[in-house]
Symmetry: C3
Subunit: 267 residues, 3 copies
Amino acid sequence: MKRPRWITLTTDFGRSDSYVAEMKGVILREHPDAHLIDITHEIPPQDRISGSLVLRRSYRYFPKGTIHLIVVDPGVGTSRKLLIGKAKQYLFLAPDNGLLSPLLAEEPMTFYALSQTRVSSTSSSATFEGRDLLAPAAAKLLRGIPPQKLGRPVRSIVKLSEWDVTFSSRSLRGKILAKDHFGNLITNIRQKDFVKFQAQKKDKPVWVKAGKIIFRGIAHTYAEGQKKPIALFGSAGLLELAVRNGNASHRLSLKQGSHIDLVYGTS
Amino acid sequence: MKRPRWITLTTDFGRSDSYVAEMKGVILREHPDAHLIDITHEIPPQDRISGSLVLRRSYRYFPKGTIHLIVVDPGVGTSRKLLIGKAKQYLFLAPDNGLLSPLLAEEPMTFYALSQTRVSSTSSSATFEGRDLLAPAAAKLLRGIPPQKLGRPVRSIVKLSEWDVTFSSRSLRGKILAKDHFGNLITNIRQKDFVKFQAQKKDKPVWVKAGKIIFRGIAHTYAEGQKKPIALFGSAGLLELAVRNGNASHRLSLKQGSHIDLVYGTS
Amino acid sequence: MKRPRWITLTTDFGRSDSYVAEMKGVILREHPDAHLIDITHEIPPQDRISGSLVLRRSYRYFPKGTIHLIVVDPGVGTSRKLLIGKAKQYLFLAPDNGLLSPLLAEEPMTFYALSQTRVSSTSSSATFEGRDLLAPAAAKLLRGIPPQKLGRPVRSIVKLSEWDVTFSSRSLRGKILAKDHFGNLITNIRQKDFVKFQAQKKDKPVWVKAGKIIFRGIAHTYAEGQKKPIALFGSAGLLELAVRNGNASHRLSLKQGSHIDLVYGTS
């Protein structure tokens, strides 16, 4: 098999400046055969939850050996660590601020804290560690340098609690993590959470409560709702609220952090 | 000659989510040597007219053998077909909703309806056929699998009537298809429509009526109008209304669908 | 060493149309092994100052031999020249309207005016020279054709005076060139301007005056200011006004062109 060649990039840098391109230039100078794929650079500024959502839903579609680099970093320039996460098929690079934690439910990983002196021989900018530390680290990893040569093992990482759902005998409480380009509202409720909740009372249907709206069941395609809002498991395997060819975020008074409850309905 | 290697991507998915990147990952897993070029992902949601315009003006600039994949799909999850269009130099992949129809004026094509079972061995998401069916189909086509192995021939496809112009002895009626990033308003009137209309009455000049404005002739460069709106044939070979270093869409009360008439003026 | 293979693209074309993709297609047809990197396509329309800023801060991060193509062109279709700039490690392509002039402080360059007949055998669109002249010229340069084969030498180029700062015994006056995606306000004051100004009166601290606000010193990281605006030298080596995890452009009543003064404070 050929050596892996892909590095994906996910940031909140936007597309209007040259920040992303500077990172790409640094990678290509270090490793001219790197292939660079943008996941998105339009994570809302400093929004770690949206960043973790994008990474979690997309990483698995890439070829084995792909290196996923993500920078959404409210703590840039402070003493928080920069992490390498080593999973079975992928490597991840990110600040230690929770971005990687939602992956742990699906990917056992070991972590390393990047050592500045092992990555860069020159002094780096305190304001742009994505370019000056993470980018050269990604290039080195792609060249086959093992994570343990670039940092020291770390036992635990910062967790994002926003991904946790709360089970009780009467309800499962989750929340809205983000809205997408089409205005679909994506929650932290996974299909297996739903199945587990449903299994508790097999004789009852499961309804979805979101603010004042109750969805009496789960749809299977966006087309089902006609023009009404629907709840369905979207292509990321997470519960979404959507309006066919419309914008659920405009129609429903819900936003990032709003509660969503699974409850038992009457059949 | 080397095997073709390019797949272009045109969607209304936006750039803020990972939808486009997931399609790219799927293509690269199936065909690691694919080169992926974004045309745009900012087609207004569900706007098939803008989608067809972007595809029609750009496809011909790519190397022979390029595969053009476009997803603007108000009917996702319904029973509409997914098409492969085979032209002399290019292959096209799109939902059967009119996106490919404006190309037929320039490119004779044969069509195939994609067969889900021939493209994907696993069950696919009902909500993201772009990733689960069109992306792997594009990769297979790039690997040299012929269209007839991925689907069955179809005789006719859905047409977009918005591209039709109406000739009469006194006028040629077209309409505005879309506005571009600079606010230029792009119509469906082609240079050859203009030439044909002009040829009917060679002693008269051709004027352009757009709402209450009359353009007494056609400009050749954006610079001609100074600060006034002008009508000119733009780089796509279609009649445009523009304002030099300004925004025609803001200046003129016209929008997608507004009528534009060619009429005979007084010399 | 392998032949260089990168062409970077910087434009004000936006991402919603196919303009950028058409340029890429033209390059790939002329040179299928070209690797294309987007710097940004979201330069504000016709804003040469922002364009020159993006190019100046990013070009040096790319591998030796990279060709940098930039199109921000209020004069498209007029008689202004199209330039090839030849620096020690890079080649540049741009309209002659000042875009390349800020590089001259750092990169000695020789210039050539592109000859239309040497670049393109077919007649080109008067409205899209980026696609019809600059793109094929970039591909030819990447293939190793020397600049002097594509144009004639020119002695002087148009300058952008907005990059000039004014020294006096009591102050150094610069201005805001642009704001970035995070709302940081980037000035034309370089670290070496600051050092030179500071050296004049070694016993006094240097303060930064921006409108009604005085910054009593220079920060080193975005984290220092807590929630207050700070002045610091950003990752481009230029003085910036910023608010940690906030938006300086919203907080301060300053815009492109606003004056920024370095003055001597009281220690």
